[in-house]
Symmetry: C2
Subunit: 198 residues, 2 copies
């Protein structure tokens, strides 16, 4: 006995979501089928259709749903500080801290020779074009702390050496609120070498 | 800075899925937005729309996507054995074992005084109507091993006492493949009292 074919199709699509396996997909599909009203399903469908209205800003790569990018067009943000991130999602993670009031630049991924993603892939042209305008004074590299993130950060530092900008990277150290006991050796070593007088 | 409004709407819908919180909803939404092709999104939308084509059989309560119920209309299944389950989903779980070749009856949930779900709510009429046809010889109660499941199983046993049918319930005992060390006391006690000679 098989599941109804249309249910199998839904399983297959739900399994494409990150971290969703067969059993979770089944759980979601049965919840949608038995627990959701027709109105809720239509709402979900409408919000999936509305993804079309969201695009990436041609200049900075941030998400926007109206005609102009809220970051690029904002008058409350300093145009002298530029934060480089690897995905439009990370912009929102940084925004939640309220720590940065400059503008962003989303590069199209991290350098990864293993995945065949070289220097051409990360879209350096758009970044250098913005720097050539001469407004930006500081570039903050906010990339993952991973092999790819480190490689890309180093590459960006080299490429931006020709511009009259300060290039900095987010600090490494002990996560706030964590016990030393649970901090890994690599992090602890970085925290030692970057220790501060206080 | 807020997320685009249409993305927020999608978050809200995805959060209604079982076990999905804010962060998982964001993860799914960004995957849909940045990782899925237009074609894949349309496929997901089509499969959500197609949920309409799936309904519950008026007789047994199993899911069906064509006009006739594959369980009720099957000639390969014995109509003398009836398995009672609490949700159409469990039918497929049982089917996967290949252990049962009778027909099913899906009651509309378990008795739960705390949630205000009394004897009227579980739809006993349809079940007794089927039993009155006189074909069914054995009823197998396949309900959860929980307070609600136990209460409902007991209630069903009482209600079916007037019919000339054997009423049985799935066996309790040690899960196959498990170490005694990890089996809880209640299960172990049931396994002792239901011990078999071999």
């Amino acid at each position: 006995m098989q599941y109804p074919q249309n249910l199998e199709r839904l399983f297959a699509f739900l399994r494409r979501l990150p971290g969703v396996g067969r059993r979770t997909a089944e759980r979601y599909a049965f919840d949608l089928l038995l627990g959701w009203s027709k109105q809720e399903i239509n709402g979900l469908i409408a919000s999936l259709e509305a993804l079309d209205t969201i695009s990436c800003c041609q200049v900075c790569g941030c998400l926007k749903d109206s005609k102009e990018c809220l970051f690029c067009s904002s008058h409350n943000r300093t145009k002298e500080q530029l934060c480089i991130v690897a995905s439009p999602r990370e912009v929102f993670t940084i925004e939640q801290t309220g720590e940065f009031r400059g503008v962003y630049h989303v590069i199209s991924g991290l350098l990864s020779p293993l995945d065949g993603r070289g220097r051409e892939e990360i879209g350096l042209d758009k970044l250098t074009a913005r720097l050539r305008e001469g407004v930006i004074r500081e570039v903050i590299v906010a990339l993952d702390s991973s092999l790819e993130g480190d490689t890309t950060a180093l590459f960006l530092k080299e490429q931006l050496a020709h511009f009259a900008v300060t290039v900095s990277r987010l600090a490494f150290g002990i996560p706030v609120g964590s016990a030393l006991e649970y901090v890994d050796g690599g992090t602890l070593a970085r925290a030692f070498s970057a220790r501060n007088t206080y």
